[in-house]
Amino acid sequence: MKKIIFILTLCLLMVLVGCNTETPPAAPEPDEQAEPETPEEPEEEPAAEVTILLAAAASLKNCIDKELIPMFAEKHPNITVDATYDSSGKLQAQIEEGADVDVFMSAAMKQMNALNDKGLIKKGTIVELLENKIVLILPIDSLTEIASFEDILKAETIAVGDPESVPAGQYAKESFENLGIWEDVSAKASLGTNVTEVLSWVAAGSADAGVVYATDAASNENVKVVAEAPEGSVSKVIYPIGIIDATTKLEAAQIFTEFLQSEEALSIFEKYGFTAN
């Protein structure tokens, strides 16, 4: 009996160890869309190899990890970019605690401004890089005649984030309030507790229309975007980027942030639903 237990324990250990030593994720494939021969500026290139750490909002993970970092690595082989993703508020707190971050990209101006007010961002490096639009989505095969935010009352059920707890829901409410239809919208609204729930309700056709971020809409092929929130009806959702004041790798950090502002980087962001600001 003891022997059996011993063998079982051994098996279990092996399985556990096996899990830990799983092969590291394969090196990301070079992006096909990368422009073939962009002349580099050799005088800016640091001679030694450096690694910089980017702290970015979780909603940026896919496009940065899958496309932008590999693209950057190809252009600047001696600069390695490590990235950490979390909610902007948590990243802000980590940077305040002195985390070894070189570049910060947040999902709202609030966190960047808070860091800037404390003098933690290098002067003049904040760029309001991207905008994430608030959009109206319908199920992909929807036949309803909804073409604008004002039309949404034609929908039988509307999916929006709960304005009490979901930022996307707050923006939706703000927009509908400015259009003067929030009362009517909320009467037929199913309030999601996060924006993904809203997205999946519309994708399944359970709700006839919904309001989410443009990046969410771009991530799901079962929904279509029919309108952006009318200009001026809602505050802009800006994704700013800034270099941390305490960085010891300023040169590399600058090269990276300039890369993110380049046309080709912006076109990748746009592919994922962002708008260049």
Partner: protein, 228 residues
């Protein structure tokens, strides 16, 4: 405090228990009467499955059947203009699916505990099977069935996961007590959920006490029969 979630929850639980009660008994009776053990094991497993599956998986299956892009859901929508998902009916369907196994298993247990000798005795007195069921089996199994009923009612009242998926969270329509509690807490408003939580706890406690009452009454009833 907004009373609509309570009314919706009570309405949903009341309607769903009526449905669950009858199909639960019907299913239990058929399974108990099955001749083949193998078939019974498989059918029993399928009928009990909703008890152990996460409610989100049940919601997934309901959507798979009734979602507007699925055959049945599409058929209902195209031909009858009936959209089940995100309607109040959807809360009832979710409640029936999750509470059914409790009703079914309690009823099954109650039927199986009925003394076979009494049924045989009925047969020797040339009672019809239907009469035996209504005059012998049912009265003896009733306490177990009743306790299954209250348990299923309590479960229907507390249903959250499947409901959120198939019925959404629409105020005055599909926002049940558990959804209201979840939304309040997600918004960081613990105080706002106190009332709802108190209602759920009180109703559930009353229901469980009722169940115990039925069980105790039932055992006395059965013992008396044995004494006779």
């Amino acid at each position: 405090m907004d009373w609509s979630p309570m009314l919706i929850s009570l309405k949903t639980a009341s309607v769903s228990i009526i449905i669950t009660f009858f199909i639960g008994i019907l299913a239990a009776k058929s399974v108990v009467g099955m001749k083949s053990d193998k078939v019974r094991i498989v059918i029993d497993g399928l009928l009990t499955l909703p008890l152990v599956l996460p409610p989100t998986v049940l919601g997934f299956f309901i959507l798979l059947i009734l979602g507007v892009k699925r055959p049945l859901g599409k058929f209902l929508l195209d031909f009858f203009s009936v959209k089940i998902v995100f309607s109040w009916t959807a809360t009832v369907i979710a409640a029936v699916v999750v509470s059914f196994p409790l009703m079914y298993r309690s009823a099954r247990g109650a039927f199986e505990q009925v003394d076979k000798n009494l049924i045989m005795a009925g047969r020797t007195l040339s009672m019809s099977e239907r009469k035996i069921f209504w005059r012998v089996t049912m009265p003896l199994a009733l306490p177990g069935i009743a306790s299954g009923g209250v348990l299923a009612f309590a479960r229907a009242l507390g249903e959250f996961g499947a409901t959120a998926m198939v019925a959404g969270n629409i105020a005055n329509k599909t926002r049940t007590l558990p959804l209201a509690i979840y939304a309040e807490v997600a918004a960081g408003n613990m105080e706002g959920s106190y009332g709802y939580v108190a209602v759920v706890v009180i109703i559930s406690f009353v229901v469980l006490s009722l169940m115990n009452y039925f069980t105790i009454k039932g055992s006395k009833y059965n013992n008396k029969d044995e004494l006779k």
